[in-house]
Symmetry: C2
Subunit: 123 residues, 2 copies
């Protein structure tokens, strides 16, 4: 069974995690049976490992990690692959695949551009 | 005249700036006369101040700063406002307004959720 791990940087303010919960809810609104959890690199829980473990506990055997990052950088290209390797070592038979970061996806970029053009800012 | 400053964190790898250029091009594809420039907090140029100065040089009198961040955090809530204040002090009459970060916009979140559900990851 497929699972989705929303991989984020993490921050000190708990409110920083809200977009992750909103993405999760939007996924569940499309597919109520989807297995989808957040997992953070630092400063915030669940950690990447905790998110993976939750998905495995729910029955996931193949997990797609989706970096919720503006662009690929050190966190996506260097920090993430060893975390995935460690999780696959910890869970025999688990397959983890890494997706490009959301900020490099054309429809996401288009939505950001549209937002930038039309946003009504704080006064 | 209105200008748009795409505010990003910045990173060591120049490729990190590519999504910003793609957002800029998407905005120009919709409105060829738009004044839109990137501006980074650190590690990358143009800096926030340089981006603002370019927009002012192009004739912008009112600039909307759009944080290209997944969520509001210290960089958006604490680092950004003083940068905007300094720029308004430097340019008499310039108005700068701050928009919520892209990652908190409903259409962007929806695009991210759709991407996460349907992405074909690296094998």
């Amino acid at each position: 069974m497929k699972g989705i791990l929303l991989f984020g940087h993490g921050a000190r303010n708990p409110a920083w995690a809200l977009p992750f919960e909103r993405i999760r809810q939007a996924i569940l609104a499309t597919d109520a049976a989807a297995l989808v959890e957040p997992g953070f690199l630092e400063l915030m829980r669940p950690t990447f490992a905790e998110g993976i473990d939750t998905l495995v506990g729910q029955g996931a055997t193949e997990i797609v990690v989706v970096p919720i990052f503006v662009a690929g950088g050190g966190h996506v290209n260097k920090d993430l692959p060893p975390l995935a390797d460690q999780a696959m070592t910890r869970h025999a038979g688990l397959i983890i695949r890494l997706a490009p970061p959301v900020g490099e996806a054309a429809p996401v970029l288009a939505a950001m551009a549209d937002y930038a053009l039309n946003v009504v800012p704080f006064e």
